[in-house]
């Protein structure tokens, strides 16, 4: 028993000689602060978001980049891109409400060559965003065809009619009828 006592005492003294309390505190501190700061570093999370979604064109090309006006889903858009205004191409910026009443059209996805039904939902309730105006208007009809005109404020069915920006949601695949191409 006495020998064990002496043996443990010797180890403890050896450890104490090699390390310092300040050094220990410094390393624990560095670990705490560094660990907390790690998520703040601008590592490539932006790039991770850009990973190609299933069925979408290459995000490195404009047709596959939801921040670009050339993005394939924006073929009939007329407004500010929600992806440029604090939201994404499918979600409205914080503080805005997505209008359920929408303008719908079709866009061709270059990835698979199919026509998709796109719903352009306006984000409403905050002052107009002003970033990334995009006005492509494929299939847009004059204002006397109200339901096929995208110049009007589609903030309907929302608490506020104030327009902020627009998202582009895929709601279906539109298969052309056999005779569609002949016209």
């Amino acid at each position: 028993m006495k020998s064990m006592d002496g043996w443990i005492g010797a180890i403890a003294r050896a450890v104490a000689r090699r390390t310092s309390r300040r050094g220990f505190l410094a390393s624990v501190g560095a670990l705490l602060v560094g660990g907390a700061a790690a998520p703040l570093l601008p590592v490539s999370r932006a790039a991770a978001e850009r990973a190609r979604a299933a069925g979408e064109p290459d995000p490195a090309t404009p047709a596959g980049d939801p921040d670009a006006c050339e993005y394939w889903r924006y073929c009939a858009i007329d407004g500010f891109l929600a992806s440029c205004c604090g939201g994404s191409h499918t979600s409205c910026p914080p503080g805005t409400q997505m209008s359920p009443i929408t303008w719908l059209g079709t866009c061709r996805n270059p990835q698979d060559g199919k026509e998709y039904v796109i719903s352009y939902n306006d984000c409403c309730g905050k002052d107009v965003c002003g970033n990334c105006f995009c006005n492509r208007n494929e299939g847009d009809k004059p204002v006397y065809y109200t339901h096929k005109n995208n110049d009007i404020d589609w903030c309907m069915g929302t608490e506020s009619v104030v327009y902020n920006s627009t998202v582009a949601l895929v709601v279906g695949v539109a298969t052309p009828s056999e005779h569609a191409g002949k016209k």
């Binding site: 065809y145 279906g172 052309p176």
Partner: protein
């Protein structure tokens, strides 16, 4: 077969852009306001749920063709008939939809004009008739 051929010819003549299915025409022509589930927006856009009940009162069959969203749409008469038939089956009630013959392109051609001037009043009249119970159809 003859009728199917007629429908195809009618669709070609009308020159509508032509999507293969009524649900897609519903999406592109109706869903923007009536929403995917047909419930509309209270006070702004009428609900389509239970729209087949209109078929059970006199004037209701014509009403569904003559509402602005229907008669003003860019759909041909054949395509409008197809969308209406799909909507009746989809939004029900099934028993009302099943009792009535489906719309045909010819019928839509006849009913589509003249447009309703006061849509809300006609709708209210029909809903009142529905409240009173089933009436003999003419």
């Amino acid at each position: 077969m003859k009728r199917a051929l007629l429908l195809v010819v009618a669709a070609l003549l009308a020159g509508s852009p032509g999507w293969a299915s009524a649900p897609i025409d519903y999406m592109l022509q109706c869903q923007g306001c009536h929403l995917a589930d047909g419930r509309g927006a209270p006070g702004k856009v009428p609900s389509l749920l239970g729209m087949a009940r209109f078929l059970t009162v006199p004037g209701g069959r014509a009403f569904l063709v003559r509402v602005p969203g229907a008669f003003q749409s860019s759909l041909s008469d054949a395509k409008l008939a197809a969308v209406l038939n799909w909507m009746l089956a989809h939004f029900g009630p099934a028993e009302s939809a099943a009792k009535q013959p489906p719309y045909t392109a010819e019928e839509v051609t006849k009913l589509r004009r003249p447009p309703l001037v006061d849509v809300a009043a006609e709708r209210a009249r029909l809903l009142e008739a529905l409240e009173k119970g089933p009436a003999p159809l003419h």
